[in-house]
Each structure stands twice: as C-alpha cells, then as structure tokens.
C-alpha cells in the first residue's frame, strides 16, 4: 500500500512544493485514514517541517520550534482521522501550524522579546558555522556560502515586515500556497493578499539590495 501511495503522490503534480517535490496531501490523508502507517508518518513529518520553518521565518525563534512542532503534531494527529474534506487539508494544516506557533508565542508573554538571528541558529558553540541543513548537496562551497549569506539576509529582511505580511510571504513564496489558499489561511480576501504581497516584496527587495 505504501508503494501505491508513493506512486499516486509522485504522479499528481497538483501540489508542488518549492523544492520541486510534489505532495498529494489528499491521497496521503485518505491513505492515513485507511490505516496506512507510512502515510500517517509522512503527514506528521510534513507538519513538523512546516512548524519548524514557520517558527524560524515567521516567529523569528528556532528555539520555539519544539513547542510549536509538538502542538502541531498533536492537533494534526487528533484530526487527521476525522477530517472529511481531503482537498481542504493543506490549508487546514497551515492554519493548525500557525495557531500552534502563535499559542507558543503567547505562552512566552512576559519573557523578554528577542529575535534570534539565523547566525545564532547556524553557529556552533565553538563559533564555527554548523552544517547547513539545506539542499546544497553537490554544490561548490562558495555557492553554499553564498546561499547561506542570502538566507541570512532574507531572514533579517523578513523580520522587518509587519507580522501579517511576513505570514503572507511565508505562505505564498516559501511554502508555495496559491493566493486563494493564503487568503483562506490568513482570513483576508485574495485581492488583499496580492496587494500586501506586492508591498512586502518591494520592502524585502529594498532590504536585500541595501549595501
């Protein structure tokens, strides 16, 4: 059954993530609901990956990720067996992760606000740069370092955006959701998503191009 799920997933290009891998969430969900443990594991790992990226890029704290990931995991597991509209599963997933991350942030009310830089995330205790966990396999070291610098600049630029704009950029550009899906997750109109996305892009461009 796992093979069947894998074949369906890879052959359906309807949902293609930014890394080029397609994910048919509806097929995975149906398989998971039918008792396919491998499909359930994949769904849960997807939730973990999204919660981690959300914590880092939207909340600005990779150290919040474990709480957010735990919250997202439990909520997803509780609902996966009962959700009735597989087609809407992807937007539901992002709403779940967003709420889980925001719950984690609220728990920290009263703690000093501090935005963790990507340098801190990537820096080893001895000050050296840790292995960069991105798809840089097979690239030259200078390309890897250039990509790393770009990511750090982007991370800093993202954190200058208003929270809702940051969320829109994350969902649309980083995660590859459609405008309609972003509107559904954020709770605003598609026209509003497009307007805010355009302004956010211009703002990010200014920060990335600044010397």
């Amino acid at each position: 059954m796992t093979d069947a799920v894998t074949k369906r997933t890879e052959s359906n290009p309807s949902v293609r993530s930014r890394d080029g891998r397609s994910t048919d969430y509806a097929a995975l969900l149906l398989a998971a609901q039918g008792g396919n443990q491998a499909a359930m594991e994949r769904l849960l790992m997807k939730a973990q990956e999204i919660a981690y990226r959300f914590s880092l890029l939207v909340c600005g704290h990779a150290d919040d990720a474990d709480d957010a990931m735990q919250e997202a995991l439990l909520k997803r597991y509780r609902h996966a067996a009962q959700i009735k509209e597989p087609a809407a599963f992807r937007t539901w997933l992002y709403r779940t992760v967003k709420n889980a991350c925001l719950i984690g942030r609220r728990r920290r009310v009263g703690e000093p606000a501090r935005v963790q830089s990507l340098d801190e995330v990537l820096m080893a205790p001895d000050g050296s740069l840790q292995r960069i966990d991105v798809e840089d396999h097979g690239r030259r070291p200078d390309q890897v370092m250039e990509n790393s610098r770009l990511r750090q600049s982007l991370h800093r630029a993202l954190l200058t955006l208003p929270p809702e704009s940051r969320l829109i950029v994350f969902l649309r550009e980083v995660e590859g959701l459609s405008t309609r899906e972003v509107a559904s997750v954020v709770g605003i109109s598609e026209a509003n998503v497009k307007t805010r996305l355009h302004r956010a892009r211009l703002s990010l461009r200014r920060h990335l191009e600044a010397p």
Partner: protein, 90 residues
C-alpha cells in the same frame, strides 16, 4: 517635477508582481515588456524584484536540522506507538 515617464514607471511598478506571477493579460504583458526594454531603471527593478522572490522561494527548501529531525521522528514514533485508541476525541 514629475515627468510623464516617471508616472508611467510608477504605474508599471504596481504591475511587476503580476508580471512575475504571470497574472497579466497578454496586452498588459506586451506593454510592460516593451517598457522594460526601453527603461533600464524599470528593467533593473524588475530583475531585482524577481531575484527577491526567487530568494524567498529557495528558503522553502530548508530542511530540518539533524537534531530537530531526530526529535521530530521520536515524537511521531511515540505518538503512533500509543495507537489510535489513545487519540482524544474532538
């Protein structure tokens, strides 16, 4: 003082996201492409905006750090080992 050209550039700036997302009508796209060929300033802006969008999209390829992935797998294994009977009703 504003010139007609700068007004034109400003108006087209508002279309650049649609241009990048391929949401312009064929006529709008032709007009914008023709302007970009004539206006180095707008062409630079369009290239720069496209570069920014590409950088964001590359961020989606970030994988979990190894230690985070190990913890994630352990959490999932624990949850699944507990079995469906332990799922709280919602």
């Amino acid at each position: 003082m504003k010139t007609p050209a700068s007004d034109r550039c400003r108006a087209l700036l508002e279309q650049l996201s649609k241009y990048i997302d391929d949401e312009l009508t064929p006529a709008e796209r032709r007009a914008l492409t023709a302007h970009l060929r004539r206006c180095p300033c707008c062409q630079t802006m369009a290239d720069s905006l496209k570069h920014t969008v590409d950088a964001c999209r590359k961020a989606g390829t970030t994988r979990l750090p190894a230690d985070v992935r190990v913890r994630a797998r352990a959490r999932i294994a624990t949850l699944l080992a507990a079995g469906p009977a332990s799922r709280p009703r919602t």
